[in-house]
Symmetry: C2
Subunit: 200 residues, 2 copies
Amino acid sequence: MSLRYALLAILTAAPLTGYETAKRFEGSVGHVWHAPDSQIYPELRRMETEGLVQGREERWGPNSTKTRYYITAEGESAFRGWMSEPLRYAPWRDVAHMQAAYFEWTDPDSVRMHLQQHAQHYEEQIAQWSSQVQAIESHEHPMIAARLQRYPAEQHARIVAFKSFAYEGLIRLAQAEVDWANSGLALLEELEAQDAEGAG
Amino acid sequence: MSLRYALLAILTAAPLTGYETAKRFEGSVGHVWHAPDSQIYPELRRMETEGLVQGREERWGPNSTKTRYYITAEGESAFRGWMSEPLRYAPWRDVAHMQAAYFEWTDPDSVRMHLQQHAQHYEEQIAQWSSQVQAIESHEHPMIAARLQRYPAEQHARIVAFKSFAYEGLIRLAQAEVDWANSGLALLEELEAQDAEGAG
């Protein structure tokens, strides 16, 4: 169901064709809620059936048409409704931490590889999300630009502030992952020093 | 596939019946990798078919038997193999941050409710994971006790250290979530103050 709300979120910024929706998704809300194109197209059609969006045929080239999706009043109301309901939190599933709990089953070099890879992965995420924050705050992000054009000026501050805030939360999480991996590398050295002492 | 490795991890501590596996799962690795019982039983049977565990029938009461699962050499080798392969990181999917990006669609009271709920949820997780760390470090956790009995003393330090380390990572993440929610509450006050100024 989250995909549906992510798609409604995008369509509150501008009416889009299926193709544009998939592209804009990837460059905006897809950073926070990943979904492949193969899920996006059928979900848009389901949403149309349920009256949350309206598809309008548009001329596309000399002999063909394409569908542009407009959020309906019902779609906006579903989106607002979701916004005012408490979230249900899914139980935790994290394979990196699960694996780390059993690191005694591999050699120190593998542990080091895993922890370095973990830190690197989340450093890359930080870089990616930080550039999103920058594009949001400078209003250069195409979705932000479209959104600001559509909504009155007195709403602009909070539109921008909440989007930055969402990404800043992800950056905090990624930083916690990097710090954790680094503390693991320190732990590994400690354990190796203890082993060396034990053997000495 | 992660469920399979989580089950192998448990069975490296002790051979268990299906029922015991499900119970022990919930009290240990299930904190990090949640899975319902309905997934655990069929996966154990598949693992038996593939030779990763061996089921041995045991007498259970006067007229019945139950199956106890023992990890095989092949199972241990699969577990070690997984441990030495780099992880593939799944793309991000986080509904709380996704929703926060569009908080301008609801009123300040709903935003406050979401952020307070978010902080509370992760504070509860911190409490739960902290009590796991305590039970691990005191060796009172039943799975740790079983595991330490099974493996030589020179491995005990790392067995305990890595398990604590895994949970400490989760606590760091949960703390980052709490801090983020609190920063959101501060942001909300700021935006409300700006609105009041604008209206004044």
